[in-house]
């Protein structure tokens, strides 16, 4: 029985497995793909009124049949491929960059370093981020040089030949340490704190004095990646009239175009961005990344240039979700009403600002939760560290503070012996409640959502 092997549920002899099965062979000529001539359109797409219909998506059919063209599916005549060299060192001064050996490598058509970019900085609120670092590297994923070659592999091989001399600078990884006066200043500013926000409402000290119980707890969250199925990708083509066309995975093309105009010092009407169906954004594709680089490499070579991030590029060089340190102090009446709350948020901004200021602002406003709190004081800080930069990600700080205020709520409920649902209903916004910023809220359905979700869950009947 030694010559019998078990394959799934069938017992077959080695001999039978060695036989060529024509049915398993891939055809040498691809099969003709015939699409149905008459397309079935779902009834919901055909009905009026249109609002409220469960209309299917026209792009669904394209996805299902593999017809959607993502950036990596696009090819143009003469197109070449770009790759970006990553620093691999978290914080260092760049003493020199030598690309001469890389340029001699087979297939290499051009290289690009930061000093060749007309305006080598960008960012939605502070323009503190270089497209390719040219004097200082502030996190290990910083790009330091780009190579365009006939194949991706040739570009990768050439990256190995780029010689960079670094002078190491002190690392600052912990945002709380980075806030201290004696911390190394990552951007040569007076402080590593580059944004701060405050919300003050009522009299928080009086609120604490009037409280029966005071609860304090510090919460922290981690850095996570967006992990879109499609990584960042772009194709740049500089034409003979000096007009550049960019196919890009950007999620906001109008402002992307303004950033490209600024970095390339070109009028906006000479730039065209065409976005495809983006394969996942979640906030990560809201800024330019490789677009000016492929544009300049195309200008140098006269060829369309494509750059697609590897999964590793995606992790080490694109934006991520901010780790937060959240200190909560809440005063409660013995009936379970929130009397006062003080919050301090420290947001680990990583090497560059990106969307941190916006994230901080939203987190600051939302940190009190959907609850009526008359006495509130929130202080929030965004801090530079020499880690991967953090930016926009689904929720802009809200998932972090929600984890904190809702965990804190259950802690207090348990101490006071009040049911978690009841304590929330007792404090939740009503129609016309004033938000932490004093805004009068309309169409407020917090309590409806609490009742609906717990009803569906079977909250009251649920037993361990």
């Amino acid at each position: 029985m030694a010559d019998e092997v078990k394959v799934a549920d069938k017992t077959e002899t080695v001999e039978s497995l060695r036989k060529i099965d024509d049915n398993l062979r891939l055809p040498s000529v691809p099969e003709k793909r015939v699409f149905p001539k008459e397309i079935d359109v779902s009834a919901a797409r055909m009905q009026t009124p249109a609002v409220g219909q469960r209309a299917t998506r026209p792009d669904g059919r394209m996805h299902g049949l593999g017809q959607t063209k993502y950036i990596d599916d696009m090819f143009f005549p003469g197109m070449i491929h770009a790759k970006i060299k990553r620093a691999g060192i978290a914080h260092a001064k760049i003493k020199s960059i030598d690309v001469s050996e890389a340029e001699k490598m087979p297939g290499v058509m051009a290289t690009l370093i930061g000093s060749e970019i007309p305006v080598n900085s960008f960012g939605p609120s502070l323009q503190d981020q270089p497209l390719l670092a040219d004097d200082v590297v502030r996190h290990a994923g910083d790009g330091v040089a780009a190579v365009a070659a006939v194949t991706e592999q040739q570009a990768l091989d050439a990256l190995e030949k780029i010689k960079i001399v670094y002078e190491e600078l002190p690392n600052v990884f912990d945002p709380v340490e980075a806030m201290k006066d004696d911390a190394y200043k990552i951007h040569n500013n007076e402080s590593n704190i580059y944004a701060s926000k405050t919300i003050m409402k009522g009299d928080v000290e009086k609120g604490f004095a009037d409280s029966d119980f005071i609860f304090e707890r510090t919460f922290t969250t981690q850095m996570v990646e967006h992990v879109p199925m499609e990584p960042h990708a772009s194709i740049g083509e500089w034409d003979a009239n000096g007009r550049v066309t960019l196919h890009s995975s950007l999620g906001r093309i109008t402002l992307g175009r303004a950033d490209i105009s600024r970095t390339l010092e070109m009028p906006i009407n000479r730039i065209r961005i065409i976005a495809t169906v983006v394969g996942g954004n979640f906030g990560g594709k809201n800024e330019i990344t490789t677009e000016p680089i492929v544009a300049l490499l195309s200008k140098k070579t006269g060829r369309p240039v494509k750059c697609v991030f590897t999964r590793e590029d995606e992790f080490i060089s694109s934006t991520t979700r901010h780790p937060f340190v959240m200190e909560y102090k809440t005063g409660m009446s013995k009936e379970g009403k929130i009397m006062a709350r003080k919050v301090r948020l420290i947001c680990d901004g990583g090497a560059y600002c990106s969307w941190s200021e916006t994230t901080l602002g939203k987190a600051c406003i939302l940190s009190a939760g959907p609850y009526n709190i008359e006495n509130l004081h929130v202080d929030a800080y965004a801090v530079y560290t020499t880690k991967t930069m953090t930016g926009a990600m689904r929720g802009f700080g809200a998932p972090q503070v929600c984890f904190a205020y809702e965990s804190h709520m259950d802690d207090m409920a348990a101490e006071l012996g009040i049911e978690p649902l009841e304590i929330r209903l007792k404090n939740a916004f009503n129609e016309g409640s004033a938000s932490p910023t004093g805004q009068v809220l309309e169409a407020v359905v917090v309590k409806d959502s609490l009742e609906m979700a717990t009803e569906r869950f079977g909250w009251k009947e649920w037993r361990k």
């Binding site: 026209p58 969250t221 981690q222 990646e225 998932p399 569906r456």
Partner: protein, 340 residues
């Protein structure tokens, strides 16, 4: 031993940018057969926004979703848009599209009015017809009116418009102001099983009730909520980028960066909370980001209910939960009076 627990997480979330202008513009072109083309600068990022925007244009013109073809995301051809960010597409871009479609519709009304022997303000666009309000028997097919407008009257029915959510700047000292035009609310509940010998957490079931104003397309709202929950589960239990002492990432790959797969997904029940926002297009607000907000809170509260430990740092990995359970057991033992 497997221990079960339940937890709830509740949230609020704003639509659009904080104070800053974040406008959208749109153009709607009604073709001579009554179908229409919508030009928008926003980008489809997989959430189905272009379908929702087509529905908004269709509703305003009184045609079906399939009658609208959407052209998007080309800076040479489509009008400016702040983009797919801040859960703003349905609300802000949707409002711009509704206004643009209304402008195109006004041309159709002006062309149809003399033919129907009424004033333009007596007309409405319903079910591919331009008809007299409260006297629908008197009507013309929208195709006939569009053809008349374009080729007889020489007035192609094209409308453009823009929208920017109204806000009031925040005081720098106190933060008081009206930073957003509108907010949405949501609650998620989680049922978990925690193995108190390994610390492993399994999310068994989640219910989610989200407010998005009018659900322009309930199916796409449900899809967003289910997707948001999967992202929330990763944030709660698994995902974490790790660094070595030199600041280099330890797990920049999908082998060692653990995120939820279909096998990690719980059973999910989704409810849409009935609401209508008078400032949104047909009462709609948004749903994109909020779906991922309360998940981690609900799961961590369920862990607390199951095993009595409070996870204060995410993610609640098995190692972290087990360590917390051991600490709690040690503390509980210390509290017991020493045996005589």
């Amino acid at each position: 031993m497997i221990r079960r627990g339940k937890g709830v997480g509740c949230m609020w979330y704003p639509i659009g940018f904080t104070v800053l202008a974040n406008p959208s513009a749109a153009t709607v072109k009604v073709n001579e057969d009554g179908t229409a083309t919508l030009l928008t600068g926003t980008v489809e990022t997989g959430q189905g926004s272009l379908t929702v925007l087509a529905q908004i244009a269709a509703e305003e013109l009184g045609v079906s979703t399939d009658d609208i073809h959407v052209v998007s995301a080309d800076t040479d051809t489509t009008p400016m848009d702040t983009g797919a960010i801040a859960s703003r597409t349905t609300y802000v871009t949707g409002n711009a599209i509704k206004l643009a479609a209304a402008n195109a519709k006004q041309i159709l009304f002006e062309v149809a009015a003399p033919l129907l022997e009424v004033q333009p303000n007596q007309l409405e666009a319903v079910d591919r017809k331009i008809q007299v309000q409260y006297f629908p028997q008197r009507c013309l097919p929208i195709a006939d009116v569009a053809l008349q407008a374009q080729f007889v009257m020489g007035r192609p029915p094209i409308g453009s418009a823009s929208y920017n959510p109204p806000t009031v700047g925040m005081d720098p000292e106190t933060g008081q102001g009206k930073p957003f035009s509108t907010y949405v609310y949501a609650t998620q509940c989680a049922e978990v099983e925690v193995d108190d010998e390994t610390g492993e957490v399994d999310v068994i079931y989640m219910s989610a009730a989200h407010d998005c104003g009018t659900a322009i397309n309930p199916m796409l709202v449900e899809g967003q909520i289910e997707g948001g929950i999967s992202m929330g589960i990763g944030f709660a239990l698994q995902e974490e980028m790790l660094f070595d002492d030199k600041g280099l990432q330890l797990n920049p790959n999908l082998t060692n960066y653990i995120m939820p797969t279909s096998l990690d997904m719980p059973e999910i029940d989704v409810d849409i909370v009935e609401n209508f926002d008078p400032t949104g297009p047909f009462g709609a607000k948004g749903v994109g980001e909020p779906t991922a907000v309360p998940t981690a809170a609900a799961i961590c509260n369920a862990i607390f209910d199951a095993v009595g430990v409070r996870i204060t740092s995410l993610p609640a990995t098995a190692e972290k939960v087990l360590r917390a359970i051991k600490e709690k057991n040690d503390n509980d033992q210390k509290i017991l009076p020493a045996a005589e």
